[in-house]
């Protein structure tokens, strides 16, 4: 099948003159990638699954003893772990909702003829191009209660964004929204510009109101591509580490990946942290699957 689809090698090319067939060239390109994936992704994945059933600690020389499902059982009974999951869920919902609202809104604003449209779009994309750690350090300064510009601009006095346990998670989410809304905007913009103009013209002739046009024409047609943006952002938000770790150390912002990091690299409970990583992986897979099913249904419509 693959060979049928493939274009054959130009007989005058240098590769052909060296006696290489197109299959050989295909293999040359693909095999290193597959090897790389096996060595650095698939193998550790399977290996760590084995460790998740042991009490292995990488910091000692003691051999790993098989403990069955004990790690999973204890983790799922640990109230702190459940608190971490609840925090993560809250963070994902707040952050992704914020990004979709802000990103899609900006895309709607930009989806018209305005001067310097290209320049504005490019500038809006800047936050997404920065490193997470740098964004975290900058926003820590912006949020500072004594000299931060946010309190100064909003006239909030010395409001404690990051030290207040109820506010800290929202503060991290706001930073994440600032950083990743452009990503949603970019995808939405692509979806919006693909909506056929004649649909709007027909709607205008039928005297459809702006809300009706938005909910019956714009949103359904942009939905598939918006769903893709949401899937990506949900997966990323679920795995958030850098921003939350750098900005604050409140227990109310200890998302699951921070707990996982502490368990694996501060406590060196290697076996147990492998189990936790698998629980997180299964959750991300499940959530993504639900989205993908929904995405397919949206596409069928």
């Amino acid at each position: 099948m693959a060979t049928v689809v493939m274009t054959s090698l130009d007989s005058k090319s240098r590769a052909a003159s060296r006696g290489m067939s197109d299959i050989k060239i295909r293999n040359l390109f693909i095999i290193p990638t597959i090897l790389f994936l096996i060595v650095f992704n698939i193998f550790p994945l399977i290996y760590s699954l084995g460790y998740s059933f042991t009490d292995f600690r990488a910091s000692t020389n003691a051999p790993a003893a098989f403990v069955g499902l004990q790690n999973y059982r204890e983790l799922l009974n640990d109230p702190f772990i459940w608190a971490n999951f609840a925090i993560t869920a809250k963070y994902v919902i707040v952050s992704v909702t914020g990004q979709v609202v802000v990103g899609f809104g900006t895309a709607m604003l930009l989806n018209r003829e305005i001067p310097f449209k290209g320049l504005i779009t490019t500038l809006l994309l800047l936050p997404m191009m920065l490193s997470m750690a740098v964004v975290g350090l900058f926003w820590k300064l912006l949020y500072d209660p004594s000299f931060g510009i946010i309190n100064y601009a909003l006239g909030l006095g010395s409001f404690e964004w990051l030290a207040n346990p109820d506010m800290a998670l929202y503060a991290v989410a706001i930073t994440d929204i600032w950083m990743w809304s452009p990503f949603v905007m970019l995808l939405s913009l692509a979806g919006l510009s693909a909506v056929p103009r004649h649909l709007y013209e027909a709607a205008a002739i039928d005297r459809a109101g702006p809300f009706y046009t938005f909910f019956r024409i714009t949103l359904p047609l942009v939905a598939p591509i918006l769903m893709i943006a949401i899937i990506f952002r949900t997966m990323e938000a679920f795995k958030t580490f850098d921003l939350a770790y750098i900005l604050t150390s409140q227990p109310t912002t200890e998302v699951i990946s921070i707990r996982l990091y502490k368990m694996a690299f501060q406590e060196w409970q290697t076996g147990r942290s492998c189990a936790l990583a698998y629980i997180v992986l299964i959750m991300v897979l499940a959530i993504t699957n639900i989205y993908v099913k929904y995405l397919n249904r949206v596409k069928e419509r």
């Binding site: 990488a58 910091s59 000692t60 020389n61 702190f80 500072d144 209660p145 004594s146 010395s158 404690e160 964004w161 990051l162 030290a163 346990p165 604050t248 150390s249 409140q250 227990p251 502490k262 690299f265 501060q266 406590e267 060196w268 409970q269």
Partner: protein, 435 residues
């Protein structure tokens, strides 16, 4: 094709060969990124001048010092010949065989007489009272306090203070006075605050801060030889100590919920607080006018006594150990022989390092060298430390989880937090078969 592979292999093997031959005259010491590491680099440059052995001090930020060191140990890597490791690592590193046993070296040079007793006990010996030693005390350190002399000595403030509290305004003698002074100077409307304390819960910041209160209130974290914690970590003194710490948090500058050594020095340099808790190792920056505009008016005092007169401070600091996987262990031993010499220790103190050598600490010369050396000398003979068992990191995280919400957000009571902690610790010790 075959020819090029052979060439490549030859190249790689040549690289390895030349790598090892160059290493025999080189030693690498791993430490955290802070001023004392720079002083150590200056010290070892003198070793190179004497012996021709090049010693490099490699550093990494504090936040990932532990992670990076143990990742290297666990991989049995030979990147570092020696490490200046935190005192609480010693159980984990010695039981896992990451550190070379230095007992013989220790006894040969009678280091338990040469070095201050507390440093030997906490930096070098594991398990407690076993007579087995794993490191040489290198950088002695403990928590002390800095304060604003100009605020304390302002006649108007002194008069107002005496009228309000009935005694003279001076560096606090006990924790009650510490609290009173913090309250007195806490004036949010003037953007001046009472006190800066440790609150960072990502490693041992908050725990060290609370330890200062617990130990001085006459409390303990547990029995380090029997692993008993019930009635010790949640004792009445400890509850009172934790309540006092929570009260002090009310007099800190706004947003003081992730504060460690950087923030606490800023509290003095940025005119935020009247008093600030910090390790002695960070005080050189406070007497330097380039890094502290208030250098001339910054004073220092030792951790004050508790209600019953007990006076202890939380131990910082590190010992230097030889990594078992080093390829230059003999060379490293020779370096340690040089490091423990009296002249070297004296030079180390002159450069800004905190020697643990009892002789140097006791000398007039050392005590008068800086405004804080005397407080340091007094403190180093009354320090206590956290658990050093291999599972200390779990104990540390559990303590952070239990006390942080109480100290910074007032959730629950001190008694509830410490009772819960005792339960966590018991479960952990049971898991590792310690009890």
């Amino acid at each position: 094709m075959r020819k090029s592979v052979a060439g490549l292999l030859a190249g790689i093997s040549f690289m390895f060969a030349s790598g090892t031959s160059a290493q025999s005259q080189e030693l690498t010491i791993f430490w955290a990124e802070w001023d004392p590491a720079n002083y150590l680099q200056e010290l070892v440059n003198e070793y190179e001048a004497e012996t021709g052995v090049k010693v490099t001090v490699e550093t990494t930020p504090w936040a990932d010092f532990q992670t990076k060191a143990f990742t290297e140990f666990n991989a049995k890597g030979s990147a570092y010949d020696m490490v200046v490791g935190d005192s609480q690592w010693i159980g984990a590193a010695s039981e896992a065989g990451h550190y070379v046993d230095l007992t013989e070296f220790f006894n040969k040079h009678k280091l338990n007489e040469v070095m201050a007793p507390a440093t030997v006990k906490y930096y070098s010996e594991y398990p407690a009272n076993s007579g087995k030693y794993w490191s040489i005390p290198a950088e002695g350190d403990a928590v002390g306090w800095s304060y604003r002399k100009d605020w304390f000595e302002d006649p108007k403030e002194m008069e107002a203070f005496k009228a309000k509290y009935g005694y003279d305004l001076a560096p606090p003698k006990d924790w009650k006075q510490l609290r009173d002074i913090a309250e007195f100077f806490h004036r949010p409307d003037q953007k001046r605050y009472g006190i800066a304390i440790y609150t960072d819960n990502s490693y041992d910041g908050l725990v060290m801060g609370v330890e200062n209160a617990i130990f001085s209130f006459g409390g303990e974290l547990g029995d380090y030889s029997t692993y008993k914690v019930d009635g010790i970590i949640n004792s009445e003194q400890n509850v009172k100590a934790l309540e006092t710490y929570r009260e002090l948090y009310g007099f800190t500058p706004p947003g003081w919920a992730k504060a460690f050594f950087v923030e606490n020095n800023q509290a003095i340099t940025e005119n935020l607080a009247a008093m600030s808790m910090n390790y002695f190792a960070f005080f050189p920056a406070l007497v330097n006018e380039a890094s502290n505009p208030n250098a001339k008016v910054t004073g220092f005092f030792a951790n004050p006594a508790g209600p019953n007169g007990d006076q202890y401070a939380a131990l910082g600091g590190q010992g230097i150990s030889i990594v078992s996987y080093s390829e230059n262990k003999e060379e490293a031993m020779k370096f340690l022989e040089w490091f423990i010499k009296d002249e070297t220790q004296k030079r180390w103190a002159e450069l800004g390092g905190y020697t643990a050598s009892a002789k140097v600490l006791e000398s007039e010369e050392f005590q008068n060298a800086t405004p804080y050396n005397k407080a340091f000398y007094e403190t180093m003979f009354k320090v206590k430390d956290f658990w050093a068992t291999p599972e200390y990191a779990e104990l540390l995280i559990q303590m952070n989880q239990r006390i942080y919400p109480y100290v910074t957000a007032g959730q629950g009571t001190a008694k509830e937090a410490l009772d819960a902690l005792a339960k966590d610790w018991n479960a952990t010790f049971k898991k590792y078969g310690r009890q």
